[in-house]
Amino acid sequence: MESTAADWLTVRKEIIGNALSIGVAVAMYGVSFGALGTTTGLTIPQTMALSLLMFTGASQFTLVSTLASGGTALTAVIASWLMGTRNAAYSMRMTPILKTSGVGRLVAVQLTIDESTAMGLAQDETAYEGRASRLAFWATGLSVYVLWNSATFIGAVSVSAIGDPKTFGLDAAIAAGLFALVWPQIKSRIAIAVALGGALIALTLTPFVSPGIPVLAAALVAIIIGWTTGRRVL
């Protein structure tokens, strides 16, 4: 790809801008999470430990709500793992793109979540020798990490949340943001089939199995279609 330094500056600015806006949207949920944590009986350090160490929103909400609804510690832990399983698929996909090693790899692993993966994959992998994908992943991961944790702290100490994030349509904004990021990847017929199949399986299973499993089950679609079409170009 032909690219100049000026192009890169524009691309870089856009990526960083998008990374920050994702961070801000996610942070609103961080405030809710912080408030939920301390109102359901976790201490402020425990709530913070979840955001700092677990750092994967769906697992955190699942752990806290399972405890709050009277579940045992063990059930809560297993439910949070189940929610976090998709991150394994994300790091499998991101590791060859990021080309990290040592401590860098360990940090990248921690930052591997829905948002950072989606942003990293939304860029052309070959653009600027892969710099665009790497910057998108790191900028989004760090932006979300810093803002999510700051927001958790604010929610945990102030307890009263700013308000329900739904009032501002943030639930739809986060879904639309993730969709916008996968959008460039669903061009080929195979990818469209996988996208629709994954969505369909998840929605079909939703009423019957506990949260987390429907999304995970969508992996089956990727495995079956990927395995059978392996030799065809995507």
Binding site: E14, S21, G41, L42, Q46, A49, L50, L53, M54, T56, L63, L67, A73, V77, S80, W81, G84, N87, A88, A89, Y90, S91, R93, L106, Q110, T112, A118, T167, G169, L170, A172, A175, A176, G177, L178, F179, A180, L181, Q185, A191, V194, L196, G198, L200, A202, L203, T206, P211, V215, A219, V221, A222, I223, G226, W227, T229, G230, R231, R232, L234
Partner: protein
């Protein structure tokens, strides 16, 4: 409580780590490569679907559905990322504000 917090966090980190520890040559096999390429697409689209149409274990059509529809139109017109996100938020927030959807 600390048990749940720390065990949960350790497991979630281990899951993220496992994916990165798979040796490169395994991922080079064409069929494996294709699966790895398609996995995030399947998972993220499933997540978007669930975030749009599900509340816990119930399927619900509410303000999120029109918001995502509007966002999809914006994407078709190649709107920038931030515009797509803001349009979705405004649609859902607006419908709820005027009591047209929950």
């Amino acid at each position: 409580m600390w048990f749940a917090v720390l065990a949960g966090a350790a497991g979630c980190y281990a899951l993220k780590y496992v994916g990165s520890a798979i040796p490169g040559h395994v991922l080079e096999k064409p069929s494996v490569k294709q699966v790895v390429l398609l996995l995030p697409i399947a998972l993220l689209c499933a997540l978007v679907a669930v975030q749009t149409i599900a509340t816990n274990q119930t399927l619900v059509i509410d303000a999120r559905v029109p918001a995502l529809a509007v966002a999809t139109v914006a994407l078709r017109f190649r709107a920038p990322f931030i515009v797509v996100v803001l349009i979705a938020a405004a649609t859902a927030g607006g419908l709820r504000y005027f009591g047209l959807a929950s």
